[in-house]
Amino acid sequence: MKNDIKTTGSITQRDDFKTQWQSRQQWQEQAEKSVPDDETLLRWAEDARQTSAGPEMSIIPFPTHRYNRWIPYIAAACIAIGGVAIGLNRQSTSENALPVAKEVEVGGQTVRFLCNNGCSAQDIILSASEVIK
């Protein structure tokens, strides 16, 4: 390692850190093998578009494929703006991406929450009340 670091000169201009550079390159190659398949990526691309381009209301763009993880944040954001959040699930397709509206009472306010993955209003309330605490 020491020698590698001390090496200067000819192989590439990056060989000040030859070992690390090579390991980074190997790591990148390995990481790139785990890139999701094209179908998944295109679904996410569609989600990104749907998430960004909603109806006239305020939009909180959350790619919420780990839906449960984001619920408290979305709920908190709903409260903050007194508005509407749309959660799009990465499982969504253009056919089923139209959200299902759910109205829930959070912190004394009714929040209209739109989601499309069957998440129950009860789940949202429980998560939101955790946030409010």
């Binding site: 390692m1 980074r24 790591w27 998430t51 939009i59 763009p61």
Partner: protein
Amino acid sequence: MESSESYGANKKSQTDFNALVLRHKAMIWHICSDYSLGRAWNIEDCMQEVMVSLWRDFDKFEGRSSEKTWVWRVATNTMLMLKRKDNRSPQTESIETEGAEKKSNDMGNDSYQQLQQLIEALPEENGIIIRAFLDGFSYKEIAEMTGSSVGSVAMRIARTKRRLRIMYERENNI
């Protein structure tokens, strides 16, 4: 809150966007993985955050820089934004009922992780430049991405490499 019109989604098509995502999927993925290393971030979440940013800015891309450098810049900015948010936020336990994984975040080997830690310890702008350099971009491309001159980029890279070497030697008592 921006309206959907401001995203300019009408001018360029979803088909173009899909093609862009597929062309640069490996690069976006490795940028997400790179910044996620050592953090409890889900790389897939990061990838989706990047896609949202790309879509929002898609219409603003005018082809003055290469598509690759534009995607790299948007992805990097998104990850930096997440990093800043992460640094500001108190650590919370997320509720994850689907066994959400911390997979891939520890996939680096020792040499790489050490390099990564050193890069993380650099001032942000130097970290960006050295990452771009390690990702194989030319000085000219890095200058384009960062809005600097080629000479300034060359100088910063040389200085950052020297600094990294000193940090490395100090860390390893060399």
